[in-house]
């Protein structure tokens, strides 16, 4: 087995463990390369099926192409797709693009808060009807107790400390200083009522591993990741007002792999195009403690 085989086997093992242990399980899908690979790994683990809902937190400021691509893939792969959003903040225009919040406060309002309340079922959830392509409010409001997230250890400092199975308190808090031990492929799968567990099947993957795997498996990824003529491509996807492409002429998966192997981008942080990471020190960690992915 080569490295990709080993990474794949480990992720599949973790996904199956999560599916066995958590009755109310969901996977967060951001439409980006990481969570799309994770979705592919779920199809590997469950032999073509995805036996839990995918949850997308739609800030209403995602690059429009991402939303179209999300809905198309959901119908093609027959996914149970749910989205949640902060309807009130959007109605009141309390966002960064509307000029009423700074970037960090906007992340909290449009991502962290709706994530928490969508997972808990406090706020409405909309489910895609695969036949008609319409969104309907989901009557099922059960709280998810196991939430699969595509975080990777090499992305950024605070994520390097994550567990594969990482408990969250009732308020979605992450107690970095007191995490459960994790060894011998045994994970924290018992949790007190009201708490939930974040599950991280991609923790040991690097950005290069992901793209190599996308290439090997021919996984469809959104074309925003490629140079389409202007010498730029997105390396990390998010909301359009806060996400910048990098200079790159990689036009295909194979060219992205070559670019990453060349080391051209190895000294530039993967999330360098994500403006919210830069406002203030240790910001992403603050966001993550609060429940951010």
């Amino acid at each position: 087995m080569d490295r990709l085989d080993r990474l794949e086997a480990q992720s599949v093992h973790i996904l199956r463990e999560a599916y066995r242990e958590f009755k109310d399980l969901a996977m967060l899908w951001s439409i980006g390369k990481d969570s799309t690979v994770m979705l592919w790994l779920a199809r590997k683990a469950f032999f073509g099926h995805v036996p839990f809902p995918l949850v997308h937190i739609d800030t209403a400021f995602k690059i429009p192409e991402m939303i179209a691509w999300r809905d198309r893939l959901a119908r093609e792969w027959r996914l149970t797709l749910i989205y949640g959003r902060n309807v009130e903040a959007l109605a009141r225009k309390e966002t960064f693009p509307d000029g009423r919040l700074d970037r960090i406060a906007c992340c909290k309002a449009l991502k962290t808060e709706p994530l928490r309340r969508t997972l808990s079922g406090e706020w409405p959830r909309w489910r895609l009807d695969l036949e008609s392509g319409e969104w309907r409010e989901d009557p099922d409001r059960r709280a998810f107790t196991g939430v699969i997230v595509g975080a990777r250890a090499d992305e950024e400092g605070s994520r390097s400390k994550e567990r594969y199975f990482s408990p969250r308190t009732k308020d979605n808090d992450w107690d970095v200083g007191d995490q459960p031990p994790e060894f011998w492929n045994q994970y924290k799968t018992d949790f007190a009522p009201g708490t939930h567990v974040r599950i991280h099947p991609l923790l040991d993957w690097t950005e290069l591993n992901l793209w190599e795997y996308v290439e090997r498996e021919s996984i469809p990824v959104i074309p925003l990741y490629f140079d389409r003529g202007d010498g730029r491509r997105y390396r990390s996807l998010g909301c359009w007002p806060c996400t910048q492409p990098v200079e790159s002429t990689a036009r295909s998966v194979a060219e992205v792999v070559v670019e990453l192997r060349s080391g051209r981008l190895s000294r530039v942080a993967e999330r360098a195009g994500r403006a919210q990471d830069k406002d203030g020190g240790g910001t992403l960690e603050d966001l993550r403690r609060d429940g951010y992915m």
Partner: protein, 604 residues
């Protein structure tokens, strides 16, 4: 940088040692000297130190979290990536503070090799020994010892050799051999990546050269095939009718057509196909693969069973084991305490029967006669599991003999099975003790028998369809009552609401419900009553527990097939088909009671 044509080899290395002996400095320096840092990161940290009037330290590079910078110690096992000419490394920086031992264990268990750092000036300390001991228990095969801060002892050869000799002797005592001892000064970069001219008396190689010489963990392909069943899938969507036994192969190899045996259940079948998604058709699976198999016959196998090849040696199966454990729990591990034991994909309740001896991990002195194991201690214990477990104790069988213990909601300890033990089960022993302890009135069982014209029995109705079990159980009670018998129907929910309210949910709640049902059945039997209980999804181990505790009352188990899937594996006195209606079921159960002479003159 040259373009790499293919994926490179990768190795996980953990770095451990006593607090302040300089682990993070070693890692920071390795990252800096191998060119693994993002542009400007080093300067950023230097600037920050200058602004805050602190001397620059390489360790700050790793202290990505503000918690750590505030306390100046590593809280968790941070992962960093660097490359040598030989391969890519993931270095896991494990904390040295004793409070953070669980993080050190988490980090170290992922490693194929370990760097253990000892301060040349402070010498071997408590956690130097404790970490060495845990590395050996965790099974980390390759170790290099760094005697750090050589600059603080004037790069003196005798200071290095004194520590080397003392620590090598300690390692010998626990059966571990270090690949090398290297004198280093991480702060100055001596002997980390390049050999240092400052220690001409040292004739070995640099730390990086030592780890470049390590070999990646070799998977145990030559051992008997072991596939712990993680789950059994039947996704019916889009007409998929495959019944797939999924799991990760932890040892050996198996092919389509091989006869397989599941342990502990003893079920047998033959591998019919190897399933996958977006993979070419396969005829064999080997160690490390997360796979899924279909079988040629319909067998009832639960997650947790270990699939083995029939032509290879089977694992051992036991309910009582001797084990070496390390304890990380907030509460001490106590004799008589009940924990959840997870081994491979199986989990079961386990009781601590005996703490044989407790070893102080820092000096390896041992204490006997203790009844508990405190946090951070290592001990030898005897455990009894409610469900039998399968394991291999043969050399190199660590993948199937390692287990963890869960206390409440928390993973609190780890251990290795060292011996399978025999003897009366805990429940058989308990039932005997309990009967001896009863304070009785003067009414004898014979008097009750004459009065009620029946023998007390537990009629246990089980199957997959809970609602149907309730209907049948209630109907049997009604028939018995109408016939003038002394009978009571107890659904599992009746216990949950009252007697079991304190264990209504949470880990192991099911095992405790079952235990209490057994105890309750014993009392009803003593009262001369026929107790009818419905227990959905009863398994053979649960039936054994109930049998032991309900004695002297006999248990008559009745299986109601749910029809849709493979039948259960519980040995039953009577099995009823899925299409039998409630009245027909009650008829058959009545006949069973007559047949077993429970009720002598009974027609229902």
């Amino acid at each position: 940088m040259a373009i790499e044509a293919t994926a490179r080899e990768q190795m996980n290395v953990v770095i451990v040692g006593h607090v302040d002996h300089g682990k993070s400095t070693v890692v920071g320096r390795l990252l800096a000297d191998t060119g693994a840092l993002p542009d400007g990161r080093l300067q950023q940290v230097r600037d920050l130190c200058a602004r805050t009037a602190r001397p620059f330290e390489y360790a700050f590079l790793l202290d990505a979290l503000k918690d750590e910078q505030a306390q100046g110690i590593t809280i968790d096992a941070a992962r960093c990536f660097f490359k040598s000419a030989t391969r890519d490394y993931i270095i896991i920086d494990a904390p040295g503070h004793v409070e953070f031992l669980k993080n050190m264990v988490s980090g170290a268990s992922r490693a194929e090799a370990a760097l253990l750092v000892i301060d040349a000036k402070e010498g071997v300390r408590e956690n130097s020994r404790r970490h060495g001991f845990l590395l050996s228990m965790l099974g980390i095969p390759q170790l290099v010892v760094l005697v750090n801060k050589m600059d603080l002892v004037g790069y003196a050869q005798d200071a290095f050799e004194r520590i080397r000799d003392e620590y090598a002797a300690f390692l010998r005592g626990i059966g571990v051999r270090a690949t090398a001892f290297v004198p280093v000064s991480a702060f100055h970069g001596d002997n980390l990546v390049e050999r240092s001219p400052g220690m001409p008396w040292y004739d070995g190689v640099s730390v990086l050269q030592v780890i470049d010489g390590f070999t990646p963990a070799a998977p145990p392909a030559e051992r008997p095939f072991r596939l712990p069943v993680q789950d059994v899938y039947k996704f019916t969507e889009d007409g998929d009718d495959r019944r797939i036994f999924a799991g990760t192969v932890v040892a050996g190899r198996a092919s389509v057509g091989d006869e397989v045996v599941f342990h502990p259940s003893g079920k047998r079948s033959r591998i019919s196909s190897i399933e996958g998604f977006n993979t070419p058709e396969r005829s064999a699976v080997g160690v490390g693969e997360a796979t899924g198999l279909t079988l040629s016959t319909q067998v009832y196998v639960r997650p947790g069973d270990v699939m083995c090849r029939a032509d290879q040696p089977p694992p051992e199966v036991a309910t009582r084991i001797r084990a070496s454990i390390f304890w990380l729990g907030r509460r001490p591990l106590a004799t008589g305490g009940r924990y959840k034991l997870k081994i491979c994909t199986a989990s079961t309740s386990a009781y601590v029967r005996e703490v044989v001896r407790v070893m102080d991990a820092s000096d390896l002195s041992s204490g006997v006669g203790r009844r508990h194991v405190d946090r951070h201690e290592v001990a030898e214990v005897v455990l009894e599991t409610v469900r039998p477990i399968a394991f291999d104790r043969t050399a190199g069988g660590a993948e199937t003999s390692r287990f963890v213990l869960v206390d409440g909601y928390d993973l609190a300890g780890g251990g290795i099975v060292t011996e399978a033990l025999a003897g009366a089960s805990l429940f058989e022993q308990r039932a005997g003790e309990r009967r001896a302890a009863f304070t009785r009135g003067s009414v004898t069982p014979e008097e009750r028998h004459e009065r009620y014209r029946q023998r007390p029995r537990l009629v246990l109705v089980t199957g997959g369809d809970a609602a149907r079990l309730q209907q049948v159980g209630a109907r049997v009670e009604r028939r018995l009552f109408d016939a003038g018998r002394y009978a009571y129907f107890l659904g599992l929910h009746s216990l949950e609401a009252g007697l079991d309210a304190d264990v209504a949910s949470g880990p192991l709640s099911r095992d405790e419900h079952v235990r209490r049902l057994g105890e309750l059945a014993g009392l009803f039997a003593d009262a001369g009553c026929i107790l009818v209980a419905a227990v959905p999804g009863l398994d053979p181990a649960e039936l054994r527990v109930i049998r032991a505790l309900a004695a002297p009352s006999e248990v008559l188990a009745v299986g109601l097939s749910a029809g849709s899937d493979v039948a259960s594996d519980v040995p039953v006195a009577l099995s009823l088909p899925a299409d039998a209606d409630v009245e027909a079921c009650a008829d058959r159960i009545g006949a069973l009671l007559a047949e077993h002479a429970v009720v002598l003159d009974f027609q229902i």
